[in-house]
């Protein structure tokens, strides 16, 4: 459903992303992982239209979206969340989610009902009428997902939704992401938490220093020496193999 080809972006002298190829199949959960500074966030920003790529292409269901503004990409059904959560702090939780719902309806009543339903489904029921700024970190992550889901996306881009959460919160989010997929939404996620990726993803891509170094099922990735080296440093794979 999503086809990314040869995406490239340079910041000053640094090649942040160097030729990313990536496919996301309909109904799948695909992960893009890599150590800090690997270019994941830049890749994501380029796919969602927040950063213009120097070259390469992004297609959603065959439609070329390279160079589109983020709002146009969102309207076309590809919606992202932010790693550093970005609530509309002055608005209530329900109003935050309603903004997503307004992408698909002009009617206030329908948008409000939709927002409350999505919020409740994502476990924010008790918080709906509180200001978004009152939420905990985990609550804000849920709000990010709820807002994006309220836009009824075809493809949901999740940017490190588990970063900063404790293990039990991570388990809750993992369950939540599975549920979202079960409802028919395709998911591409960036993740740093390996455990989460292992539990969730059908397919994973590994970025290091702006280049794709491996791809496959989480099991294949976890066994790949190149991945281990990228994460743990040069020679790590050999050290682990030698016990």
């Amino acid at each position: 459903m999503l086809e990314v080809r040869n995406l490239r972006r340079r910041f000053g002298g640094v090649l942040a992303v160097d030729g990313l190829d990536l496919d996301v199949g309909r109904g799948s959960i695909t992960a893009l992982i890599g150590p800090n500074g690997a270019g994941k966030t830049t890749s994501f920003a380029m796919i969602a239209g927040f950063v213009r790529p120097d070259s390469g292409s992004v297609r959603l269901d065959g439609t070329l979206m390279t160079g589109w503004a983020p709002e146009r990409i969102a309207a076309a059904g590809m919606v992202r969340t932010f790693q550093v959560t970005q609530p509309f702090a002055g608005l209530s939780v329900a109003e935050n989610i309603r903004l997503g719902a307004f992408l698909r309806t002009r009617q206030r009543r329908r948008a409000t009902a939709e927002a409350r339903a999505v919020g409740t489904r994502l476990g924010l029921g008790a918080w709906l009428d509180r200001p978004a700024s009152a939420l905990t970190v985990a609550g804000r992550k849920r709000l990010e997902v709820a807002r994006a889901l309220a836009t009824v996306p075809r493809l949901l881009l999740l940017d490190e939704v588990m970063a900063g959460l404790n293990p039990s919160e991570i388990n809750e989010i993992v369950a939540l992401v599975r549920e979202v997929r079960a409802q028919g939404v395709t998911i591409l996620l960036i993740e740093h938490v390996m455990q989460a990726v292992m539990a969730l993803a059908d397919h994973a891509y590994v970025l290091a220093e702006g280049r794709l170094i491996a791809q496959g099922t989480p099991r294949q990735i976890a066994a790949d020496p190149r991945v281990i080296e990228a994460y743990l440093g040069h020679g790590a794979a050999a050290r682990i193999a030698n016990g």
Binding site: A48, F50, A69, P70, E71, R72, A74, A75, V79, R80, T81, F82, Q86, P87, F88, A89, G90, L91, E95, R98, L99, G100, F102, L103, R106, R108, A111, R147, A148, T151
Partner: protein, 309 residues
């Protein structure tokens, strides 16, 4: 019931002058209503949209000049000045907004660029022939309803109330509808709004256009009641600041804020003017009130009312 108390009280207060034969009361009420309408127009951009403008006099002046020029130079019926001014003010708002937001200007930079636009218009009005240059435009006195000039001041007051109603209706529409929700989302966080499909530049430009159109209508009312206009009146920085003050003092981003703000500002002005004749005292007090509001009560006076209602 209690929520309706404040709007109800304001409504009764607004109707009071109709029952009175006091010219003073009617004039005071008219001035207050126009100020409230202009404050509300500013509030639509500056409060709901977070687009802090220091140059709203640009729209006021453009509307006023559009109305004055059309009737004195082209002999058009003065009532046509209303749609013409709204169109000019709206177009100017959209153009200024679009160019500024496209360039990524926000916050202080946006405030400064609006100030510069107002100043550029002032200089233009001061040097062009069509605006009468520095000596301005005099509209001939000819009271007749068809001529948009009224012998009975209560009619002017009714028109001022109508404009206030229009501006407040626009604010209420923003507070409840989809466009307003998107605007407030943009105000709170542009990136997050874009990620949810909101066209940021278009939303902000449209808001400034709406605000500009309403402000321009206020300019028409000014011309029709004073029958005189010059560059200093049309594009003065004091006008821009007064609009901002009224919204900020009353409560920016709220529907009732500018109404409260206008009442308070005019109360300050008239009290001080009756006590001390020296010019500058009342505006200086506005400045002090602004500092106090920004420092102690950022939500404006409406917060106090809301707390006790």
């Amino acid at each position: 019931m209690r929520r309706a108390a404040v709007p109800l009280a304001l409504g009764v207060l607004a109707l009071l002058p109709f029952a009175s034969s006091s010219q003073f009361l009617v004039t005071l009420a008219t001035l207050t209503a126009v100020s409230a309408a202009l404050g509300q127009a500013w509030n639509i951009a500056g409060g709901f949209g977070g687009l802090t403008s220091f140059g709203h006099a640009a729209f006021f002046g453009l509307g006023a000049y559009a109305a004055a020029i059309l009737q004195t130079r082209y002999g058009l019926n003065p009532w046509l000045g209303l749609p013409a001014a709204a169109a000019v003010g709206g177009a100017a708002g959209w153009l200024i907004g679009f160019s500024a937001f496209r360039a990524g200007l926000r916050g202080s930079y946006f405030a400064l660029v609006t100030l510069a636009f107002a100043e550029a218009f002032r200089v233009l009005a001061n040097s062009l022939d069509i605006t009468g240059g520095g000596s301005g435009i005099l509209v001939a006195l000819h009271p007749a309803p068809g001529n948009f000039q009224f012998a009975d001041r209560r009619v002017s007051y009714a028109l001022a109330l109508l404009l206030l109603g229009l501006a407040t209706g626009a604010a209420a529409w923003l507070a409840s509808g989809r466009f307003g929700a998107q605007l407030m989302a943009v105000r709170e966080n542009e990136d997050a709004a874009r990620a949810l499909g909101v066209a940021v530049v278009r939303t902000k430009s449209a808001t400034l256009a709406l605000s500009g159109a309403l402000t321009a209508l206020g300019g028409v009312l000014y011309v029709q009641s004073y029958l005189y206009l010059d560059p200093g009146i049309a594009f003065s920085a004091e006008r821009s600041v007064e609009m901002l003050l009224i919204a900020m003092i009353g409560g920016a981003g709220t529907i009732l804020g500018p109404l409260l703000g206008a009442i308070v500002v005019h109360a300050i002005a008239d009290t001080t003017r009756s006590l001390i004749a020296t010019p500058g005292v009342a505006p200086m007090l506005y400045g002090v009130v602004l500092l106090v509001i920004v420092g102690v009560l950022p939500g404006g006076l409406v917060r106090i009312v809301a707390r006790h209602a």
